[in-house]
């Protein structure tokens, strides 16, 4: 038992919404262990969740955690530090990395996190969601490992091209992006789409690793749909976020979060001093999304925007972000096909029109 996993009798009763008497009955019936620390009885919260909470609370209605749905983590939150992941259905990279960054953010606040999982979380497991959590936050996050032993070994390799990986050190993204693009090319994707993906991913991974500083940033890539023509990647971090980063430059100090996130996509806009001539990466990423007829979703410090350019449409939307903490999660959905040719000035004009809409 880890200290961070222990709860008192009173906390267990609150969690289960039952009396001490009922807890005592259940404890015996379901063989829940306890320990005494300084004469106080304590339980493992993981064991309580697994052996009692899961029986008293069936998952019920599932929550779709993806780029295309408007979901809140509250929908599967048990209490301030526990989440019922059994309720998650069909997670994609955007959902999984948003949740991962949220948990990192919560742990950074000093919380110990408990996850209630079951066999339905096999896709999250294949995504390496639990692997990255365990690797970096081992002593602050708890779930019942035994569940994995009972999980069917489903092969998700046809969907998951790049399981969740940490982008720890600036520049370390190169080998990850290289392996991915080589794999896509071998699979028969066009040179153009591989190049666009490599370019966009390289820019975002470098940004993320630079701005997340001490906090980890994560990347994930998947393919789906008929003929695997939809390619989606997500990069996220629990760092300072785009607005905070941009406002370090005197020119952008007065922008609110929405204005700051949108403005950051304009060419030559950066939190760094103007003389360094930075601020082209996000412009290029949006230009790539526009040229490829992609969908781009950006969520940073509690604001979210969706840009859809598929089928020649131009749908800009202010969205309620899934990721509401400090930091940034960006997802791009590509479709291999024909590509337009645009310039950075086109991005500037487009962002100016978006700024008028918010």
């Amino acid at each position: 038992m880890y200290l961070g996993d222990l709860i008192t009798v009173s906390e267990a009763c609150d969690l289960l919404n039952i009396s001490r008497t009922t807890l005592s009955i259940y404890r015996k019936k379901y063989s829940v262990s306890n320990i005494k620390i300084k004469r106080e009885v304590k339980f493992s919260k993981t064991e309580i969740l697994y052996k009692l909470y899961s029986k008293l609370n069936l998952p019920g209605q599932k929550v779709n955690l993806s780029l295309h749905t408007n979901t809140e983590f509250e929908a599967f939150r048990i209490d301030d530090t526990s989440y019922d992941l059994r309720k998650i259905e069909a997670p994609d990279g955007h959902g999984a990395i948003s949740l991962l960054c949220h948990l990192v953010s919560e742990i950074n606040k000093g919380k110990n996190i408990h996850l209630l999982i079951n066999e339905s979380n096999s896709f999250l497991k294949s995504m390496n969601f639990f692997g990255e959590l365990k690797r970096h936050l081992n002593s602050n996050v708890f779930w019942n490992e035994d569940v994995f032993n009972n999980m069917a070994n489903i092969n998700h390799e046809s969907i998951i091209k790049l399981p969740i990986r940490r982008l720890g050190v600036v520049g370390a993204q190169t080998s990850i992006v290289d392996d991915l693009t080589v794999g896509l090319k071998k699979q028969g994707y066009s040179n153009d789409i591989c190049s666009y993906i490599g370019w966009a991913m390289g820019e975002l991974a470098d940004n993320s690793a630079t701005h997340s500083k001490i906090h980890p940033s994560f990347v994930y890539f998947e393919q789906f749909g008929e003929d695997k023509r939809f390619l989606q990647f997500t990069i996220g971090d629990a760092g300072v976020g785009i607005p905070e980063s941009l406002r370090k430059n005197e020119h952008y100090k007065s922008l609110n979060n929405k204005e700051a996130v949108l403005t950051s996509f304009k060419p030559y806009v950066s939190g760094r001093p103007d003389e360094e001539e930075r601020g082209k990466g996000l412009t290029d990423v949006l230009m790539i999304a526009m040229e490829c007829g992609s969908r781009l979703l950006v969520e940073s410090n509690g604001v979210g925007f969706s840009f859809s350019f598929d089928s020649g449409l131009d749908n800009f939307e202010v969205v309620s972000p899934l990721y509401k903490d400090d930091g940034t999660v960006i997802s791009i959905l590509f479709i291999d096909g024909n590509f337009d040719s645009l310039e950075r000035d086109d991005v500037k004009t487009y962002i100016d029109s978006c700024l008028e809409k918010i």
Partner: protein, 90 residues
């Protein structure tokens, strides 16, 4: 004239730190003037290109020869040459 095969430094060349490192290797290992071979390279990012292509072009008196680049790579290079004021020769 030194022909630098950029594939040796990665297939997706992005990020300023990698650019700074690559530039330093190239100027140590090759003699100016330089030309850049993109054979096998998928992509280049603008900050990498700032640190490598623009700086090598500066040593080459404001121009640099580019070989085997794709449409997507050319797109990025064109923007960087416009920003930094050097000529791309194909």
């Amino acid at each position: 004239m030194s022909m630098v095969k950029l594939k040796e430094y990665g297939l997706n060349l992005s990020g300023r730190p990698l650019g700074i490192k690559t530039y330093s290797i190239i100027i140590n290992d090759y003699e100016a003037p330089y030309e850049l071979d993109f054979n096998g390279v998928f992509s280049i990012g603008s900050s990498f290109a700032d640190e490598v292509v623009a700086r090598l072009a500066e040593i080459n008196n404001g121009k640099i020869r580019i070989l085997n680049s794709s449409r997507v790579i050319d797109k990025c290079l064109k923007n960087v040459s416009k920003d930094k004021g050097f000529e791309l020769v194909y």
